[in-house]
Symmetry: C2
Subunit: 596 residues, 2 copies
């Protein structure tokens, strides 16, 4: 049980009691012009900030909140405030967005109802709420207002901008609209535009509000009613989309309450009812419309033209069970960034909750974000001791040596199945290469991010379609060929995306395996092939001879070939030129015929 | 371009002009008592029927329609009727439900608004529409009314009952409530109960109707308005759930119309608007409530108790992109039927449209349904010629012989990776076994159904959790062990679900492979192993010796061992007892130690 110091404002990892602030941001004479053509005569921004701003102002992190969020990200508003800010798990001393290290800021968005100018604000023009006169806003406007506000309080550059859902759209827009103001961009459970299905849900939700007689065309502020039933209905629809079906089943199943109503009905009722108490229907309409209309492609002419502008290092995080902003949309964004030649890392987190998971499923998200943001630039290696792998697997020294003597300084290197990123780190240190890892394991994603290197979480067997032709000088496939399902395709893809490939694999024609099979009549095992036939990950074993034959057949030219033998006899065989008999590992550098 | 005869009522495969019928079904004095306790003073049923009823009345097929369907399944109501019935693609001469062969009937469901007694019908008690006085109905009531109606028109037994979505729930309920009246049950894109998410959508949809002031507590029939906005809103929500997200993107994407509205908005508007013209809000409320409340487990105490009653042969079809009735729910139903020892086949069709696909994606669904229904009882084999496989793959004769001499008459046999079902067909013919095939390929599912044998579409590598312990006397794993990802687990599972296993695999220790590897230094290839290392499906090769060692280790006892050799030398080696050196195939019968 957590002690009294571990929760609440007095907890060591809480930002404590926080004070909301409000600032009047100056607008040009004639008002702030919006992307849709409307104008706002004044701009008030409500915000919170935690952690000290460094003297050189280099440590500011801006959080973009989602549809119904607000500026109150962390901490408590009073000593007996029962609930902390909406992302308190992520923000505080020692947390992922460590307020001992970063100056964290969040402002309520334009069009909102939590202190920043929105449809419920009083218009200075007539002293009445804007209501139906509030102009259309866009995600571009929302971000532009954030930028102007930050400039006004003296912050010109952000170490990171981060957001989930609509907040992720703002983060993307920041990186596109203000490329020089954003060092890194973290985009969680988001997309470059909403899917048709997500649009449809928003449309039906808005219809519920505008169909509510109490909405009165948007001018209900001075009547004695609010469109609560309509807003509640919209919120109920929204809530269904925020949860994964699995989580709904787990939370409610088909359980009924005493009054025979399904639990899920009373949950939705509760959510709808609670929402109307603290959210404004017009804000809901304006913000969802801005979200629906946001479309990187449409706004900038093409995705390429938009992302071409980006100068931030990007981290894109998808949530596995999110069906409102499904992982494919995060993947699309990541691929587009990659294809635009930008520095991007991509990761899909296993998150059973659904879209809401970025608010609740904090474990790996925090680790991912904090590792990324703490290693934006690669720290110089503190050690030049030989990598541990050289000791446990001595042939790796040969592999590293071949790689090091092959790879030119400053080149671009792709490591397929990069593991903990050891090769890329070596190359980055000694050869100043620009590397990208590809690996399926989350653990490896975090390892590689921790080395300041980008990594794309992907299954090599699913193809490398995300990588453009010849995007890399070298691609490395270390001890991976024999575990993939389609080794021929992987080789082909490797030599499509890179000019040269460096491949290592165990050689099944090694004399010991031949002897083992021949003499014992059993599937060979060794230190190189330590698995039983029934649990081996090595599902496509090959021999040096077979490999060379495939290279010949598919038009690959061998540029360099190293055979590693173990034991005196194997080494002797290799020295005698009997490589296929002697080698237990083969390391090959190859290229497409006709390329150079 | 189709000629004029290929569409419309005059087309050769159309049932032509059809005439809706209405019948008054007698109810007991005091009215028809419903499961919820309400009573109906009268029962009118509107229906259509196509194709002749056989003199022995053995060919009746009943179609259960879904939420907003009706009795008009096929054909046209007039020569210039622009649109045929809702399942015209499935029903007609030569179609899947072939009206040259079957007498096909469908009636509008209880509570509907298309001619069968529903909330908009005139109550004989006061000559006014029931409205708010219409009693709660259940899926059980709906099916019971169908049963009474069919009895009334002289049909006591159905060759098949078939339905999709809510229609599938009715089909299940038929098989449980009237086990002796249903020879076969086909359940498409359905479930034993709705998921929490599907409940949630229905709840929000109903809320839109009951929140519409025009609904007037359900008594709007005699007012001058109908709750059209509410019903339209409910329909819009429903429509989103009927389409897969992929299909929504494909159909509408983010396209906008000239008036800047999204296409998807105008589509939803159109669907909502069209719906209110022909559907009644109270029917929508009553039927969705019946659907929400349906729960096989709750109704019958347990799923086991319910399915214990079933005597039909069942075909359960899931649609891959259906997220309203997701494939897992069809799988759950199939597994529960299998665990209750019932005859069930299961198949998941690749269907990009989503839940609606059972109405539109007809190709394989029709083939599946027609093959199943035409082969409910296994036709006696017309030939006793040796199977084709004995000629192309002579070792199969040995395998079949071992299987035939091992398998006792009338026993239960599971064939894992059953292919076209040839082994099960042989065993059914000569040994009267009760067989079940398991295979991943749709093509094989249809082959096996065509032999009158049940098949479960599944990936053996995903486990056999659907099959209870010791449910089978024998399990066959023919040439499949080496292609699975987890051979050890598959063996273990096989001997969990069956008392004995019969396994065949290629022997990698065969002298030719040893010689090939040793002399040529390349991965062996042969007629038995015809693939290149990079494209072989044989990802876990083993030897006789290795296999026997694993059996020993995992506690399996060998009951019978046949080694098949090809070539004089191989045969000689086997005869000399050098099996591991001589055999190119091994066929083993085995059991768990301690079992008999």
């Amino acid at each position: 049980m957590p002690g009294p110091e571990s929760i609440g404002p007095q907890a060591a990892n809480s930002v404590g009691i926080v004070t909301p602030e409000t600032v009047q941001v100056p607008v040009p004479a004639g008002g702030l012009e919006l992307e849709g053509g409307g104008r706002l005569p004044e701009l008030t921004v409500a915000f919170e900030r935690y952690g000290d701003l460094a003297p050189d102002k280099s440590n500011a992190v801006y959080i973009c909140h989602a549809l119904t969020g607000d500026a109150h990200v962390a901490g408590y508003h009073s000593p007996d405030d029962p609930k902390p800010g909406w992302w308190d798990q992520m923000v505080g001393p020692g947390k992922a967005l460590d307020t001992n290290r970063y100056h964290v800021i969040c402002a309520n968005i334009l069009g909102g109802c939590k202190g920043t100018t929105g449809p419920g604000s009083i218009s200075p023009e007539n002293g009445k709420p804007y209501g139906s006169r509030f102009p259309d806003i866009t995600v571009g406007d929302i971000v532009r207002v954030q930028h102007d506000f930050l400039k006004h309080i003296g912050i010109d550059r952000l170490e990171a901008v981060i957001g989930g859902s609509l907040g992720g759209m703002q983060a993307i827009e920041w990186a596109i609209q203000f490329p020089d103001a954003v060092e890194s961009c973290i985009c969680i459970a988001s997309a470059m535009s909403l899917s048709a299905q997500a649009l449809a849900f928003d449309i039906v939700g808005r219809r519920a509000i505008t169909g509510d007689p109490a909405w009165a065309g948007g001018d209900y502020y001075e009547t004695d009613q609010v469109p609560a039933p309509g807003l509640s209905q919209a919120r109920m629809i929204g809530h269904i989309t925020y949860l994964s079906p699995e989580m709904m089943t787990r939370k409610f199943g088909r359980e009924r309450r005493d009054d025979k109503r399904f639990q899920v009905e009373s949950y939705l009722d509760y959510q709808g009812g609670k929402f109307v108490e603290h959210f404004d229907a017009n804000s809901y309409l304006h913000i969802t419309k801005a979200m629906d209309a946001y479309d990187v492609e449409e706004k900038y002419g093409s995705v390429e033209a938009a992302l071409e502008r980006v100068r931030s290092r990007c981290l894109v995080v998808a949530l596995s069970s999110d069906w409102l902003f499904p992982p494919e949309q995060s993947l699309d964004l990541s691929i587009a960034l990659l294809q635009a030649g930008k520095d991007v890392s991509y990761c899909e987190l296993l998150a059973p909750h659904g879209h809401d998971a970025f608010l609740v499923d904090i474990e790996h998200l925090g680790e991912l974000v904090s590792t990324f943001i703490a290693n934006l630039t690669r720290a110089p290696s503190t050690t030049s001791a030989p990598p541990a792998a050289w000791v446990t697997e001595p042939w790796r020294r040969e592999e590293d040596n071949l790689i090091k003597r092959s790879v030119k300084k400053g080149s671009r290197v792709l490591d397929l199945g990069c593991g903990n990123g050891q090769i890329l780190e070596l190359l980055a240190r000694d050869h100043e290469v620009h590397g990208l890892g590809v690996d399926i394991e989350l653990e490896h994603v975090i390892d590689v991010l921790g080395k300041g290197i980008d990594i794309f979480q992907a299954d090599i067997d699913e193809g490398l379609a995300m990588i453009p032709d010849k995007a890399y000088d070298y691609a490395i496939l270390s001890e991976t060929l024999q575990v993939v399902r389609q080794p021929r395709t992987v080789l082909k893809e490797m030599l499509r995306v890179a000019n040269e490939g460096i491949v290592s694999f165990p050689n099944f024609a090694r004399w010991r395996y031949r002897a083992y099979l021949t003499l014992f009549g059993r599937m060979p095992k060794s230190r190189t092939l330590p698995f039983e036939w029934y649990d081996t990950p090595n599902i496509h074993l090959t021999t040096l001879k077979d490999f060379l034959r495939l290279c010949d057949q598919d038009g690959y030219r061998i540029l360099d070939l190293t055979c590693v033998a173990s034991g005196i006899f194997g080494k002797l065989l290799v020295r005698l030129g009997l490589k296929n008999l002697g080698a237990n590992r083969v390391i090959v550098r190859l290229t497409r015929d006709g390329s150079d």
